[in-house]
C-alpha cells in the first residue's frame, strides 16, 4: 500500500498527458466529424468523394502508423510537429473519420418525412437541422459515440511509441525501475475508473434524450 501511495504522484503526471490527448481529441474530432458527415451527405459530388476518400484512408490505416507519419515523416517535407502536437493531429484525423461515419449513419436514419414536414411548415435548412433533425440524431448516435469515446481512453496509450510520458509509459518505466508489477494494476484501475465515469455520463445523456421513446 505504501508503494502505491509512493507511485501515485508520478502516475498522475502520466494521466495528465493521457487526459489532455483525450479531451483535445474529442474537442476537435467531434465537430470535425460532424462537418464531414454533412459533406458526406452533400449534393456536391467532389465534396462527397473527398470525404469518402478521407474516411477510407483514415480508417484503413493503423492509428500507430498515422502517429509515426505525423511525427517522423512530416519533418521530411519541412513540417515539424512536437510529439504532443503530432499525437493530437493524428488522433483528431483518425477519430474524426470514425465520428463522421457515426454521424452520417445517424442523420441517414431520420425518415424523409421529418424533412418534408419541416419544409411544409416553412422551416429553413438550418432550423430543420437544429430543431428537428439533430435532436433525434443525438439519441441515435449516443451509443456508438460512447463506444468510440471509451476506445479513445485506451488508444491514448499508443502515444507510447512517440516516447511521450503518458500513463502507459510512466507505468512501464516504474515497473522497470522498481522491478515491481503493482503499477500495472494501478494503471488498469485508472483506465477502468475513466471508463466507468464515461459510461455513467453517457447513460445520463442517453436518458435525457430518450424521454420521448415509449418504455
Amino acid at each position: 500500500m505504501d508503494y502505491v501511495i509512493y507511485i501515485i504522484p508520478q502516475m498522475i503526471a502520466g494521466i495528465g498527458v493521457s487526459l489532455n490527448i483525450f479531451v483535445l481529441t474529442l474537442l476537435f474530432a467531434i465537430p470535425l466529424g460532424f462537418l464531414m458527415a454533412l459533406g458526406r451527405l452533400s449534393k456536391i459530388q467532389p465534396i462527397r468523394k473527398a470525404v469518402e476518400f478521407y474516411v477510407w484512408l483514415m480508417r484503413g490505416t493503423p492509428l500507430m502508423l498515422q502517429l509515426f507519419f505525423f511525427y517522423f515523416a512530416l519533418p521530411a517535407v519541412g513540417i515539424l510537429l512536437s510529439d504532443f502536437n503530432a499525437a493530437i493531429v493524428a488522433f483528431v484525423f483518425n477519430y474524426s473519420a470514425y465520428f463522421c461515419e457515426i454521424f452520417r449513419s445517424g442523420i441517414g436514419a431520420i425518415p424523409k418525412g421529418q424533412y418534408e414536414a419541416a419544409h411544409t411548415l416553412g422551416m429553413s435548412y438550418t432550423q430543420t437541422m437544429r430543431r428537428i433533425i439533430l435532436p433525434q440524431v443525438v439519441r441515435i448516435v449516443l451509443p456508438p459515440v460512447s463506444n468510440e469515446t471509451i476506445t479513445l481512453v485506451k488508444d491514448t496509450s499508443l502515444v507510447y511509441v512517440l516516447a511521450m510520458n503518458d500513463l502507459m509509459r510512466t507505468t512501464r518505466n516504474l515497473v522497470q525501475r522498481d522491478f515491481n508489477m503493482t503499477p500495472f494494476l494501478v494503471a488498469a484501475a485508472f483506465y477502468l475508473f475513466a471508463t466507468f465515469i464515461l459510461t455513467e455520463i453517457f447513460n445520463r445523456i442517453e436518458k435525457k434524450y430518450s424521454k420521448h421513446v415509449q418504455q
Binding site: 425518415p111 411544409t120 411548415l121 416553412g122 422551416m123 424521454k211 420521448h212 421513446v213 415509449q214
Partner: protein, 254 residues
Amino acid sequence: MADVKVKIRNLKKSYGNLEVIKGIDLDICEGEVIALVGPSGCGKSTFLRCINKLEDVTGGSIVIEGMTLCEEKNGKVHYAPEQEVRKIVSHTGMVFQQFNLFPHMTVLENLIEAPIQVQKRNPQECIVEARELLKKVGLADKENAYPSQLSGGQQQRVAIARGLAMNPGVMLFDEPTSALDPELTVEVLKIMQELAAEKMTMVVVTHEMGFARDVASKVIFIDEGIIKEQGDPHEVFGNPKSERLRQFLKVLLK
C-alpha cells in the same frame, strides 16, 4: 366568384423521361373542398406535393394567395427565391399519410414549433391558440404526451392541428387515412368534415369515396397524369362519363 386561393396552370412533372403529370389546370377557391381521386400511380399525390414544392415541377405555374411560387418562361420553370418559397409554402398546411410528427417533441411543442420559429410569433399567444386547436381535434388532455404514446388516429389529428396552427390559406391532405384502420379513419374524417363545415379550403387526396361524395364540394378524377373528369361529387360519381372512371368506381364501390 369566390376568391381564388391557389391558381395552377399547365402543371407538368417528369421523372427523367417518365411524365407523371401532363398538364393540369386548377383553381382552388376559398372554402372549396376538393377531393382528388384516381387509381394508384395516376399522379394525384405527386400533383398535391407539387403545390407546396415537396416536388419540383418541370412545367407550368403555381400561384398561392397571389404569390407566385413558380412560373414558366420560355419553356423554363423559375421558382421564387428560397426565402420567398418558404414564406409561400407556409401558407399551405400539409397532412401526410405517415403523420410525420416530430417524435422528440410533445404534442403541444409540435404545434407551436413552426409558429414560434418560422412566423416569430409570441410564444404565449401560440400556446393559447395551440390549446384551442387541440380542443377542436379532441385532444385537449394530450398536450404533454409524446407522439409515440398516441394512437395513429390521435397522431393524425395532432398533425392536422399542427398544420392549422400556421393559419394556412389552404390545407393539403395526402391520403390522411390510408395508414389507419377503419375505426381510426372515422375519427380523422370527422375532424376533416368539421373543418369543411367551417369553410376551410382543403385539397384531399383520398381513397375514401364516402368522404369524397359527402364532404367534398368538387371531385377531380385524375388518370394518366391529366384531369379526366371533374365536378359536383354526386354528378361525377352518379353519372361518370368516361369508361375509365366507371371502371375505377366499380372496383372501389364493390
